[in-house]
């Protein structure tokens, strides 16, 4: 399992692995939004939590089809399916690898980009915390979507269409916590629910994704 994780990470960091793509997208969005909206600080600060969360979500979406598609093309997914570790674990490891190369770096650079968007001072710690809690859910849900569309030749658009409604609760709770944090309101409930979604998705979705992969490899 460790070998699989290291292999996925190495593949992602090599040139053409798409490691920088999500980060670059997130950066571009945070630079372009103020240019498009105008420099008025108050308004930027009010929409900053939502923009940052939407940016992180779309940046995650960009690299989803890489989770299984490349392995499916060169046949290594068949090998992984017959390997001695259960397919559910393979899915979980691959989602973890995806999170390590997209979700975690996004969380790290998010406070820097929040400065560009004039996020109020109270929001920074909550932004990092919600991204840390919420992006694993994005990766696991994305791995499920990638597993469903892995057999399709042009699955990219379909993958986005399938995954987008599944991302809705995570986005709502994530943005809500940061917004409440920035305004200094009580935020325990949405924060707990965000954590619950991540944990529930990580616990259950690998099973759904593994059964989808089994269908696709049939």
């Amino acid at each position: 399992m460790k070998a699989l994780l290291l292999r996925d990470l190495r593949l992602a960091f090599r040139s053409g692995g798409g490691f920088g793509l999500g980060l670059a997208f997130f950066f571009l969005l945070s630079v372009l939004v103020p240019l498009g909206v105008g420099p008025e600080g108050g308004m930027l600060g009010r929409i900053a939590p939502g923009i940052l969360w939407v940016g992180a979500l779309l940046a995650c979406l960009l690299s989803l089809d890489r989770i299984f598609a490349l392995d499916h093309e060169d046949g290594s997914l068949d090998l992984l399916a017959t390997a001695p570790i259960p397919l559910e674990a393979v899915v979980a490891i691959k989602a973890l690898a995806h999170w390590l190369v997209t979700g975690l770096p996004l969380t790290v650079i998010a406070p820097g980009l929040a400065v560009l968007l004039n996020l109020p001072a109270g929001g920074y710690s909550w932004l990092v915390l919600t991204l840390l809690l919420g992006t694993p859910a994005l990766s696991v849900i994305g791995a499920f979507g990638a597993a469903i569309t892995v057999g399709l030749r042009r699955g990219g658009l379909l993958l986005s269409l399938l995954v987008l409604p599944l991302y809705v609760p995570t986005l709502i709770f994530g943005g809500e916590v940061v917004r409440r944090g920035a305004e200094g309101m009580a935020l325990a409930t949405p924060l707990a629910l965000l954590g619950a979604i991540s944990l529930g998705a990580a616990a259950l979705l690998p099973f759904a994704a593994a059964s989808a992969i089994r269908v696709n490899l049939r």
């Binding site: 399938l162 409604p165 609760p169 629910l193 989808a212």
Partner: protein
């Protein structure tokens, strides 16, 4: 005699062929009665005027939009557990009908909202959850049409339907976090003190019954079409081999 007999496509086709004229007739009778009664023989509301009459389309369509997904969930489960093809095809057949009901609810709601709320659209919890439901229907139907092998398609769409149902419920409660919104609360419940007045309620009940039967009719018709197209494909394949 058990319900699983209808998992046999031949039995399903025979029984549905016999039932269909009655179902269609009853649907027409109920819809015509309910809509004519609702549109022409109920008084205008003292605040909303004639626009109140849109509930005879809006409420039943919205109810069936949700119930259609529920039916797809049940038939998907039956497909996963017992692998009856009729069940998978019924789920496939129900999706466009459910999507249409969702769109009817959204459009009639917008038409009513414009004069009453002063806006076509608001990010109210109920409206937002219906928009998300539309996305789920689109995704489900797109997945069906993207996969060629019928069994693979049935399996994957069933998995998507199960996972999607959980997330649809989650979204429903997530959007409640914003605020209570503009949309009025439930006023047809059996256990509430304040409900819609009887003059509006009785024709509405007839309309709801009509929409339920309309859904049954459409799903039966579309499932029969799916079964026939499946048979046609099998015939063509056999001819090509021979």
């Amino acid at each position: 005699m058990s319900i699983w007999e209808y998992a046999n496509p031949k039995k399903f086709m025979e029984t549905s062929a016999r039932a269909l004229p009655w179902v269609v007739g009853l649907t027409l009778a109920l819809l015509v009665t309910g809509l004519v009664w609702g549109f022409f023989f109920t008084p205008d509301d003292y605040k909303q005027g004639a626009t109140v009459k849109i509930i005879y389309l809006h409420v039943p369509a919205a109810m069936m939009a949700i119930n259609a997904w529920g039916m797809m969930l049940v038939t998907s489960l039956v497909w996963i557990v017992r692998r009856h093809h009729v069940s998978a095809l019924a789920a496939k057949a129900a999706a466009p009908v459910g999507l249409t009901f969702t769109l009817i609810a959204l459009v009639t709601g917008a038409l009513w909202g414009q004069p009453m709320w002063g806006t076509w659209w608001a990010w109210d919890p109920r409206l937002t959850s219906f928009l998300i439901l539309t996305l789920f229907y689109f995704g489900y139907m797109a997945l069906w049409s993207a996969i060629e092998d019928p069994d693979t398609a049935a399996d994957l769409t069933s998995i998507l339907c199960l996972v999607g149902s959980v997330f649809a419920l989650l979204s429903r409660y997530a959007v409640l976090f914003w605020n209570q919104g503009l949309h009025q609360g439930a006023s047809l419940s059996m256990d509430e003190k304040e409900n819609v007045a009887d003059v509006f309620w009785l024709p509405l009940l007839v309309c709801i019954a009509g929409f339920i039967l309309l859904f049954v009719t459409m799903v039966l018709l579309r499932t029969r079409t799916e079964i026939r197209s499946r048979r046609l494909k099998a015939l063509l394949a056999r001819e090509r081999v021979a």
